[in-house]
């Protein structure tokens, strides 16, 4: 598994699998709290991989890593909040 | 003064201050008319006084921009101005055209003025801020083109610094977007749509490039911070300005017949418009803190910091207060808008011009900076005018909130004039704050005549 030593390759494989899962959830018509949380978690994991392994911020100054990951957390939480309101 | 031709800036600055005084006097008349409705009626009805007030504002700011550019460009380009003579000819042309226009507003009824000046050939008059008769509008175009030619040629033959390039882009944009003032279709929605291409894309677009460029220039001169550092931050700030401000035009497209999606686009992008102003404030304070020299002109530095803070408060914070569509639905076209307009124009554009004048005038008069006594007086005027505008804004905001409450939100909405009578107290307080502003302005002018010979030219 020489290929998997490159973080970019690993990230690509995980991103692909994650996309299939999201697409599959859509195909089976998943709806409601569990599927919303699941999809947000998947999106969060994917976004984080892009930030750390594609943008190569893993070894960047902490401030920038926090800014970008913070963006991801902020956006996911706001979306979650809005969906939570809509379920009430 | 490094170049002889920079001297042409002087008459521009003097004219700017003179017209500024006129603007404030008419502002006080308007303020009084708000509470004593028949004051000067029918000799100077409100609409005429307002036209004079706003048009003088625009013209003195333009004089300031031109003067600033004539002062700055030779120094930046390290060469004499392409044609100082052209600059002087254009100065008198613009001043006389401006004066005639104001006389026209005051001397004859507006409809007669329109008739006399050929409004029937091309109908462009009678729209807010663009009330100028056709010959004046054409005159503005001619002056602007002559001015741009002069400035551009100077830059082309000399050094092309980032500061000059940003200034040139701002000035060319100013001229280009003014052309929309000649487009006045019968369809009132289209009319308003493109009217904003002049008005919004000026004050929330290209004028901010001029503002940023002036600020960067004065900061380089007074702080001694590396040009490279200041210029790259200038680029970052003007980028932020334009990426938020251009689509931000949408905040004017909520209720004038344009599609509803503008409520989202306009709200989202204009909500981001405070960011560049905030960046500008941080930038100004940062550069002053990192200064490598103590410039003798403390007053100019004060104006530079002041314009950052006040532009952020006036344009950024007060703009944001009513820019989101659900809020704007209730506040649109009330005193809230007036409050925002006063602080934003003063904070961003009046102050940046005063900053440039404060920096350049002593040098044009043969000294690095004014005497201590004169600077103290100037700083007093800074605080008096700035505090006065803060209070004008606060009183108008209070009036606006009450107006919105009584006339728009209430279960039994009151008629416009009934609501106005109920908030008259705030208009009185605004007028007193306006009087304080005038005192500040008088002190400002006085500072030019106080002991100026203590320091030698640098």
């Amino acid at each position: 598994m020489e290929l998997l030593k490159n973080p970019a390759h690993r990230a690509w494989i995980v991103l692909m699998i994650a996309t299939v899962i999201t697409w599959y959830l859509g195909e089976v018509g998943a709806a409601g709290t569990t599927s919303i949380v699941a999809m947000l978690v998947i999106a969060f994991v994917k976004g984080r991989l892009v930030i750390l392994d594609f943008m190569e911020l893993r070894e960047a100054p902490r401030m920038w890593r926090i800014l970008l990951e913070g963006w991801l957390i902020l956006v996911s939480s706001l979306i979650l909040l809005a969906y939570w309101i809509s379920l009430k | 003064m490094q170049f002889k031709s920079q001297a042409v800036a002087k008459p521009y600055f003097i004219a700017a201050i003179g017209l500024f005084v006129g603007q404030i006097l008419f502002g006080l008349i308007l303020g009084l008319q708000y509470v004593l409705g028949d004051f000067l009626f029918p000799a100077i009805p409100f609409n005429v006084a307002r036209m004079v007030h706003t048009n003088l504002l625009i013209v003195w700011l333009l004089f300031g921009f031109m003067g600033g550019a004539y002062y700055m460009i030779p120094e930046e380009s390290e060469t004499e101005l392409f044609s100082p003579k052209l600059a002087l000819i254009l100065f008198w042309t613009f001043l006389i055209a401006g004066a005639l226009t104001i006389v026209g507003y005051l001397a004859v009824p507006y409809a007669t003025l329109a008739e006399l000046t050929g409004n029937n050939i091309l109908e462009t008059m009678g729209r807010e801020f663009l009330e100028q008769p056709l010959p004046t509008k054409l005159g503005i175009v001619v002056v602007a083109l002559g001015f741009l030619f002069n400035i551009t040629m100077t830059v082309l033959k000399g050094k092309k610094t980032s500061i000059s390039i940003v200034l040139l882009l701002g000035l060319w944009g100013l001229a280009v977007f003014f052309l929309f003032s000649f487009y006045n279709p019968v369809n009132v929605v289209l009319d308003k749509f493109f009217w904003w291409w002049t008005v919004h894309l000026w004050v929330e677009g290209v004028w901010e490039l001029i503002l940023g460029s002036f600020l960067a220039f004065v900061l380089i001169k007074t702080t001694g911070v590396d040009r490279e550092v200041i210029e790259k931050w200038l680029y970052v700030i003007v980028t932020l300005t334009l990426i938020t401000g251009i689509i931000g035009t949408g905040h004017h497209y909520f209720w004038i017949g344009t599609p509803e999606y503008w409520q989202w686009w306009g709200s989202i992008f204009s909500a981001l418009e405070p960011i560049p102003f905030f960046a500008m404030t941080v930038f100004a304070f940062n550069m002053v803190n990192r200064r490598r020299r103590e410039h003798p002109n403390k007053a100019a530095v004060l104006w530079a910091l002041g314009t950052g803070v006040m532009a952020f408060l006036g344009a950024g914070v007060w703009g944001f207060l009513h820019t989101l569509a659900p809020v704007n639905y209730y506040t649109h076209g009330t005193q809230i808008t007036a409050a925002h307009g006063h602080m934003a124009f003063y904070g961003a554009y009046a102050m940046v011009n005063l900053m440039m004048i404060s920096y350049a005038m002593p040098i044009l008069r043969g000294r690095a900076a004014n005497s201590n006594k004169s600077q103290v007086l100037e700083m007093w005027s800074f605080w008096l005018m700035t505090v006065a505008i803060v209070f004008i804004t606060l009183f108008l905001t209070a009036a606006g909130i009450l107006q919105v409450w009584l006339q728009r939100v209430s279960d039994a909405p009151l008629p416009f004039m009934v609501a106005q009578d109920k908030i008259a107290l705030f208009y009185w307080m605004r007028e007193w704050a306006g009087a304080a502003f005038l005192i500040g302005l008088i002190i400002y002018i006085a500072s030019f005549f106080v002991g100026g010979d203590e320091k030698e030219a640098a």
């Binding site: - | 409705g37 029918p42 251009i246 017949g257």
Partner: protein, 142 residues
């Protein structure tokens, strides 16, 4: 904070970003223009309405009033004035302004309009009222 920060990169982003957002603005404006005919009632514009708009302009009405919320804030909103007072009410109001104003009150000048001009102004104001402006103002008081 590390990382290089060059002026040339900042400049390129300035140009690129500006062009990008201006193009986006043009695209939105283009879409707006395709939607406007459904909202601005341009098909109903008659020469009389055009005449009314001209009178509105050459008498600088916007120097005191607002129209769809834009203008001066010294006098009432007129985009919906025909709802408030009716056609005849608007005409009667304009005609009855005293030449010397009303003592102590905000006063509107007497413009000495002919009947034809008054009809044109009312036609224009009715046209403005018919424009789909997303339900603004919130109530008839403007």
């Amino acid at each position: 904070m590390s990382g290089a920060f060059t002026k040339s990169m900042a400049r390129n982003i300035f140009y690129g970003g500006t062009i990008f957002f201006f193009l986006l603005f043009l695209a939105l404006s283009f879409d707006t223009h395709s939607q406007l005919p459904k909202r601005d009632m341009r098909a109903n514009i008659t020469p009389q309405i055009a005449e009314g708009k001209k009178l509105w302009e050459v008498n600088n009405c916007i120097g005191c009033h607002t129209l769809m919320g834009e203008g001066a804030y010294f006098a009432p909103e007129l985009g919906n004035v025909v709802v408030r007072y009716g056609d005849e009410g608007v005409k009667a109001f304009i005609q009855s302004r005293p030449k010397e104003g009303i003592p102590g009150r905000r006063s509107m000048p007497q413009f000495n309009f002919t009947d034809e001009q008054l009809n044109a102004i009312v036609a224009f104001l009715k046209h403005v009222n018919s424009i789909n402006d997303a339900n603004w103002p919130p109530n008839s008081q403007g």
